[in-house]
């Protein structure tokens, strides 16, 4: 991989995103709307649950609103980044193929898009993290924020994988909706999985580690090393699969 090529492609991808002003505004408006809805519909009524990744025997009791705030922050970052990643991977497929013909390597193109995605994940994660303390004070703010970013990392990589598999946008969107709604939008909420009969399914989904990272940090002082490493491993595995499929799809045909 040539760093200069990655840098140029990253700059061009960032320039394109900068010019999509309405989409950029929505990236900041959507989490705010999510938080506003939680504020409107939740109360400070105490709720009790156990977190899947720690071995505490006793239940954790927190305000319903606080729990919902962490959950919805994760969902906002994860869903937004997966759609952005899908868009970055699918858009300009023909021009990108022309760039490959002209001398770019597919790995350089995909890595530059991923780095552009990382920049957006950092911005959105920081923004969501910055507005979170307005509504509640987590026990450990930094790791909660890191959990949001890991949700962006894992779901960004998932969005790239879906974009590498499907050529058309609609199929990609539906595939993201399918998993994101089930996983980060529902099953990773401790209120749901607390009494679930088959927790192994929930633990194998992409948002498990990032949501544990944020939830454990927000409400306990337990170690978050395992969910952090798990998030990194899950995201990297998805990214590697995306890179492989994207390279196969963009490869040039040589001899018969």
């Amino acid at each position: 991989m040539r760093l200069k090529n990655i840098a140029t492609s990253w700059m061009m991808t960032m320039a394109e995103m900068r010019r999509s002003r309405i989409a950029l505004i929505l990236f900041f408006v959507i989490p705010s709307v999510f938080y506003a809805v939680i504020l409107l519909i939740t109360t400070h009524r105490p709720i009790a649950f156990r977190l899947a990744s720690i071995s505490l025997k006793s239940l954790i009791t927190v305000s319903q609103r606080d729990e919902a705030m962490v959950f919805i922050g994760l969902a906002a970052v994860g869903v937004l980044t997966s759609f952005l990643a899908l868009h970055l991977t699918q858009k300009h497929a023909e021009v990108n193929r022309r760039l490959v013909l002209a001398g770019y390597r597919t790995t350089e193109l995909l890595v530059s898009k991923f780095l552009a995605l990382v920049a957006v994940i950092a911005l959105v994660g920081l923004y969501v993290g910055a507005i979170t303390p307005i509504f509640f004070k987590p026990l450990r703010f930094g790791p909660v924020l890191l959990g949001f970013m890991m949700a962006g990392y894992v779901y960004g990589a998932y969005g790239m994988l879906v974009g590498a598999i499907f050529r058309r946008e609609l199929e990609g969107i539906l595939f993201i909706v399918l998993l994101a709604n089930l996983d980060i939008g529902w099953l990773q909420n401790p209120i749901y999985y607390f009494e679930a009969q088959n927790k192994a399914v929930i633990r194998s989904l992409p948002a498990y580690f990032p949501s544990q990272l944020s939830m454990v940090s927000a409400f306990t002082y337990e170690s978050v090393l395992r969910p952090l490493l798990g998030s990194l491993a899950y995201g990297t595995a998805l990214l590697a699969a995306a890179l492989l499929l994207y390279s196969l799809r963009m490869r040039l045909r040589k001899k018969p």
Binding site: A7, G103, Y104
Partner: protein
């Protein structure tokens, strides 16, 4: 851009031998062979759906033939029929992106003009869209986008140009400039394969081949 390469015979910049291609039961190319020598402009014509674009996509490496060999020796430039440019980038940014791909230096943050910027300026002036260098492609007319589409394929001064319907959408003045440019290149020993559903000005070509029923014939 690298063509599928095998050891070449003397002279030819491009050799296509026995290429066959089917999509399902539909046999698009049955047995296509042709050569392009240095300093030649070869036209390939045929009815809509005759397989011209399929042939070009095989020649540049975008599509694999079922059988046959494509051998190339020169660095080539490919201009696809459909616009393949970044619409939310400016004209200059498109040139910078492709300059990086061709290994000409690219955007970078260094001071002073890059070597490719001079070529870009010359091409923009020659094909009369210099005023739009800083404009977003999405704001340009169809004809100007087509000029950019074409110029991106010649930024690196390739020995062999492979053009799919290159003058669709161009005005008459630009069409004439295109041929002036092609003839200058021919005088320097550079070649072109031009695919078009009709060949308007046959005398400008060194050879015109017609693709009919999956086979190339002299037209």
């Amino acid at each position: 851009m690298s063509l599928p390469s095998v050891a070449l015979g003397a002279e030819a910049l491009l050799e296509v031998r026995g290429v066959r291609k089917s999509f399902g039961r539909r046999r698009v190319l049955r047995d296509v062979s042709f050569d392009v020598a240095p300093g030649r402009i070869v036209g390939i014509t045929g009815e809509n759906g005759s397989g011209k674009t399929t042939l070009l996509r095989i020649v540049v490496g975008l599509l694999a033939p079922d059988e046959g060999v494509v051998r190339g020796s020169a660095r080539s430039g490919y201009c696809p029929q459909d616009l393949a440019v970044f619409e939310t980038l400016t004209v200059r940014e498109n040139f910078a992106y492709f300059a990086t791909a061709y290994g000409l230096g690219g955007a970078g943050s260094g001071k002073g003009p890059r070597p490719w910027t001079r070529t870009m300026d010359e091409l923009c002036a020659r094909f009369r869209f210099a005023d739009y260098r800083e404009s977003l492609v999405s704001t340009l007319s169809g004809g100007t986008r087509q000029k950019l589409n074409f110029c991106l394929s010649i930024l690196h001064d390739p020995g062999l140009l492979i053009l799919d319907e290159p003058y669709a959408g161009l005005d008459w003045e630009t069409y004439l400039r295109f041929w002036e440019f092609a003839e200058e290149r021919r005088a320097l020993g550079k070649s072109a394969v031009i695919v078009s559903h009709f060949v308007y000005d046959r005398s400008r070509f060194d050879a015109v081949l017609e693709l009919r029923e999956g086979v190339l014939r002299c037209a």
